[in-house]
Amino acid sequence: MTIPLTGYLRSDGRKGIRNITVVAYLVECAHHVAREIVYPYRESGAHLIGFPGCFPNAYAHRMMEALCTHPNVGAVLLVSLGCESFARRKLEQTITESGRPAATLVIQKDGGTRSTIEKGRAWVEQQTQTLAQAERVPMALDELVVGTICGGSDATSGMTANPAIGVAFDRLSDAGAACIFEETGELIGCEHLLAERCVDDGLAREVVTSVEKARVYYDVLGHGSFASGNAEGQLTTQEEKSVGAYIKSGTRPINGLIKPADVPPTGGVYLLDVVPDGEVRYGFPNIVDNAEIAELIACGSHVILFATGRGSVVGSAIAPVIKVCGNPQTYERLADDMDINAGAVMTGDATVADVGDALYDQTIAVAGGAPSRSEDLGHQEFILTYKQFEPIGPACLPVI
């Protein structure tokens, strides 16, 4: 199905719905300089991302490669202190090979803070001007990748916002878009529901194993994905939160199980496993919603559908975030931050199907260039920390 969408064509054949100049710090010590470079251009398409650690991590490198070559990204400036371990030449080479303009500034070689900021701003100014002139080409709905997450959940999330996202997911996946849901730790208690939807038994086994991995991981940590605000919002247990969260994946068959920075090979529904492999190390794996949003984006998501009940206000670097507010009381307080009022279901003013249809339309509009609320308000949150993953098994992806 062709719809009047347009995108920026990249050398790997994917298309972007934005044309962003990314500035990426490669260690926390370069964060201030990178942030200062971005600041004057934050409303002209420059976004800040980065990895704070000084020591190397394969997952973080792969995430940075995926993010810097994301279809929404048109050019990348890397900002290094100089003595950190990040493989900056390898990352720059990957970006250059993707056909994107790339440059690296090394603070220790480029004359320190003031001089590096000046050089960086000159580069970013030129790139943002060039990217603003780029031509858009027709884009079909089956070239779109949509991710979903819920954050600041309460009892309404599972009754209004998440079911509405499920409706939108069904329509988007029927149109051929790839739809990614995530957080196996928030699916604890839903293993049997997930397994029944998998396209084959091999995938079903992989999915059940991944949720069990999350349960064991969180058991060892002594803490899962359940925040005190969830309980204040009348959610009592992890499995109660899980079922509510699960509903946003819709009803269509589950095509595959992917890990961060794996891009879905086809349209349809995919589960993203965000819980690390191996023994528990590096501390909490998913410290906050934006860590998972960054992973959804690294998997190629052009746009994120975010369900909230308590009232999250975050957006993201690289991909617009659409807010679906499930709680009518929250919507009243935070209407300016919300794209969709799913709380209308609680007050009897709309059905879940109505809200799902409105969200589908809003997703197409944002993909077409209309700013989401968080995007318009300038939200560009980003966080990336240490993790470790094994590659996915052969049963995880559909045979094409």
Partner: protein
């Protein structure tokens, strides 16, 4: 609009659609009760005569096990429901 909603026919709890004051007369299917305490939007209320050790069913699936009896109308939350998977922490618990 209705005061409460039973999300799935298999559920043994209903959910408050808005904050409800004490004394509210609630009817949900064949069950009726008078609320003994005010409850917030989203609160779970027992629909049947539940006993300690029973599983609470919401969205048609188990969401935990009761640690005390809960006759119809009982407010169900962290004080009487435990996860079958992971402990639930409240604000300040780990400080």
């Amino acid at each position: 609009m209705l005061d409460v909603l039973q999300i799935n026919p298999a559920d043994n709890v209903c959910v408050a659609n808005r904050p409800l004051p004490a004394g509210t007369r609630v009817t949900c299917g064949a069950t009726g009760f008078i609320l003994e305490q005010p409850v917030p939007l989203g609160a779970k209320l027992a629909l049947t005569n539940l006993k300690s050790g029973d599983q609470v069913i919401k969205f048609g699936v188990p969401i935990g096990t009761l640690i005390s009896d809960a006759p119809p109308g009982t407010y169900i939350h962290t004080h009487n429901l435990r996860s079958d998977y992971l402990k639930t922490y409240a604000r300040g618990d780990l400080i």
